[in-house]
């Protein structure tokens, strides 16, 4: 029978109608998926027991993809086709690439050579399998997590909550949603990562304070983020965000590696292999120092040891850098350190005792560290997904978010008129009236911008569209109502309407860095083209399981009575068929040949099965009268 989970009182679902929902932490380096089962949020692992899925996708020539650890392991051999850190490119235009910092090892295609025939300004990465956007790469990661979740939960997902950094703008959020759509995953909500971490600790459930200030300190492998949140009656407001996109655990490894090379008198070597070895050893030492006060270190012929005190001193400048960012974020939100109620630690690098200690000293209170810092964001997202899927009796803990940056439009003179101010609770609809500038003007361009600055150039351009069909009249007579609508995910919809004549001209807006509908359709078509290959793979896996089952049945039968029921010749025939099936199981690439081998095995074993059945019947009837069976 199917496996059951415990529900909240009165919230049991009918068979086949389970409201399965997950939280997904779609990370730059690693991604995770979590779900609530029997009331507890837990991370869903892959069959090998790994919680983290490296956010790496490799495209192969035959159109197949490798996702996660496998892609990461092959990364160095196939750099141009292995895409990591796609999150940094999500929702970015070609013009943004230069400003992202650091060189990316990929070759970008020009806009006009888009594989789906439509023009767009989404950067396309050239791979052997065609041009790929960051959205498609992220979709592969989401697909893998979705499959893992459906296997773990034993059913189809109803939807997911996906987390995004608090500083993601509208285009980046839309791109994340597009990726989910490509992965055939329904998004209940996008949730800010720091908010998710606060939810995981249940800070939103504490009612002793009407208003809480929460600092979320997120030190990952390659990035550092600090967010100051204000929680007021279930509404999380982002007061300030800050950080360093090029500071993370890797820099701590570097510091140790440099010290090792110096101590081993190898600091001048140009041997990249030795440098790599030093980095690997550094990482091991760093992790070992979390639980030990002194760790021995080795490189080539040199041997030494590193104490925690030495390490702490070595990395003090790095920790200080993060605290400076914390200070700036507090200043941006006009708060003092002692006004912060909770400090939440996120990211694997916050396991380092020196980081916990210094952060604790800085905020004057011990940070929250009970939940695994790698998993805390996914767990918070899973809790929220459980509520949104309808598995909780009342709408307890329905989070409201705010828009991170103001939304507005361009007015005469290259200025920006703000329509919705930042930190407004969403969902929200706001309208503002505009008019024509010239006599007989029949069209107007609506240019939507996001940001806090006053001029167009300083803000981020989200979309532009033309409202046509304005009846000719004197300047200033037309009344054009522009409506901004932001849904619960922070996604924007803008309509413009000419009101005096009742003539309507509404337009739906898509951010200019998202994908056009035809592009998305093209991608969905592509995924259908691969459906056949996916189905073949599935069939093969099913047959392999069947083969295992057959082999197991044979082995256990033979173990129990082969000596009694079979002569040597018969045993040999059976064992020969058995090894043929084993061979097919290990070498076959298609389901049919495995199936044939199973059929063959069953045919060869037919006489044995019949003999065992006879034997069992005989045993059952022994000592009974024939009449007893005729009744």
């Amino acid at each position: 029978m199917a496996l059951l989970q415990i529900s909240e009182p009165g919230m049991s679902t009918a068979p086949h109608e389970h409201r399965l929902a997950v939280g997904i932490d779609l990370g730059t380096t690693n991604s995770l998926v979590a779900s609530v089962r029997s009331g507890a949020a837990e991370i869903l692992c892959d069959p090998e027991g790994n919680a983290l899925l490296p956010s790496v996708v490799r495209y192969l020539e035959n159109g197949a993809t490798e996702v996660g650890k496998k892609a990461q392991d092959n990364q160095l051999e196939d750099l141009p086709n292995t895409i990591s850190s796609a999150k940094r490119l999500l929702g970015r235009g070609i013009k943004d690439l230069k400003t992202l910092g650091g060189s990316l090892p990929y070759e970008f295609a020009t806009a006009s050579s888009s594989s789906h025939g439509t023009e767009s300004n989404v950067p396309q990465i050239k791979t052997v399998a065609g041009n790929k956007t960051a959205i498609e790469v992220s979709a592969e990661i989401l697909k893998t997590l979705k499959q893992r979740a459906e296997e773990s939960l034993g059913g189809e997902l109803k939807g997911a909550v996906i987390t995004v950094p608090a500083y993601f703008d509208d285009a980046q959020r839309q791109a994340t949603k597009d990726a989910a759509r490509l992965a055939d995953l329904k998004v209940f909500r996008l949730l800010n990562e720091p908010t998710a971490a606060a939810v995981a600790y249940g800070l939103d459930q504490k009612e002793e304070l009407s208003e809480r200030i929460i600092a979320v300190y997120d030190l990952g492998g390659g990035t550092f983020d600090i967010s100051i949140l204000k929680l007021n009656k279930g509404v999380f407001e982002v007061m300030a965000t800050g950080g360093d996109s090029a500071l993370g655990g890797d820099d701590f490894d570097h510091a140790i590696a440099e010290w090792i090379l110096e101590e081993a008198l190898l600091e001048d070597t140009h041997n990249t292999k030795i440098h790599r070895k030093a980095m690997i050893e550094a990482r091991r030492v760093k992790e070992a120092l979390t639980d030990n006060n002194e760790v021995s270190v080795k490189l080539e012929d040199w041997q030494g040891s590193l104490s925690r005190n030495q390490f702490d001193e070595m990395v003090a400048p790095l920790v200080k850098k993060t605290l400076m960012a914390c200070r700036r974020a507090l200043r941006d939100s006009s708060l003092d350190k002692d006004q912060v109620h909770d400090v939440v630690m996120v990211g694997g690098s916050t396991r380092m005792p020196v980081v916990r200690e210094k952060v604790g000293e800085f905020f004057g209170q011990p940070p929250l560290v009970d939940i695994d810092p790698d998993k805390v964001v996914a767990i918070g997202a899973a809790l929220q997904a459980d509520v949104l899927a309808g598995n909780k009796p009342d709408a307890e803990m329905l989070l409201l978010d705010v828009i991170p940056l103001s939304l507005g439009l361009e007015t005469y003179g290259g200025l920006v008129e703000k329509v919705i101010a930042r930190n407004t609770t969403i969902p929200i609809t706001r309208a503002q009236e505009f008019t024509t500038f010239k006599d007989n003007q029949t069209a107007m361009t609506v240019h939507i911008l996001q940001g806090e600055r006053e001029t167009v150039e300083e803000n981020r351009s989200l979309a532009k569209f033309a409202l046509k069909g304005i009846p000719p009249m004197v300047a200033g007579a037309a009344r054009i109502k522009v409506t901004f609508q932001v849904d619960a995910d922070g996604l924007l919809n803008v309509h413009a309407e000419e009101e005096t004549t009742g003539a309507k001209a509404g337009v739906e807006v898509k951010p200019s860095y998202g994908l056009t509908d035809s592009e998305i359709e093209g991608m969905i078509r592509d995924s259908m083209d691969n459906a056949q290959a996916d189905m073949e793979a599935r069939k093969l896996r099913e047959q392999l399981v069947e083969a295992d089952r057959t082999l197991e049945a044979l082995d256990s039968a033979m173990a129990s009575d082969a000596d009694r029921m079979l002569n040597d010749e018969e045993k040999k025939t059976l064992l020969a068929a058995r090894s043929e099936l084993m061979e097919a199981k290990h070498t076959s690439k298609d389901a049919e040949s495995v199936k044939a081998a199973i059929k063959n095995m069953e045919k060869v074993a037919e006489f044995y099965v019949a003999r065992r059945m006879d034997d069992n019947v005989k045993k059952a009837m022994a000592g009974h009268n024939v009449d007893e069976f005729n009744k």
Binding site: M1, L3, L4, S7, E8, G10, S12, P15, A40, D46
Partner: protein, 107 residues
């Protein structure tokens, strides 16, 4: 007769109850639903009704309404893993058939 838990199942129920932070026990029941007659219901219990039958095993209160009890009496509840999936499994002596998916059963 009674309803019992295996050690593993008891351990998990205790963890889930502790995790939830409230609740008097575990409510089991059946619902007429599904493709093969009836389906199991398993919920956290916040209160016990007067008519409820209460069993105690491994220190856990198992609460069953009298209508469901006739179908559930003698059931043993286990917690198992099947591949990546994990959850509770019922061994019910009253059960005579289950649908292909195993989510519902007949007596």
């Amino acid at each position: 007769m009674a309803i019992t838990l295996t050690d593993v199942a008891a351990d998990r129920v205790n963890t889930f109850l502790a995790n939830r932070g409230k609740g008097v026990g575990l409510r089991l029941g059946i619902k007429t639903h599904g493709c093969s007659g009836m389906a199991y219901v398993m919920e956290f219990a916040d209160e016990i009704e007067e008519t409820d039958e209460v069993f105690e095993d491994h220190g856990i209160k198992i609460i069953v309404d009298p209508k469901s009890l006739v179908y559930l009496d003698g059931t043993e509840m286990d917690f198992t893993k099947e591949g990546l999936n994990e959850g509770f499994k019922f061994t019910n002596p009253n059960e005579s058939g289950a649908c292909g998916c195993g989510e519902s059963f007949t007596v």
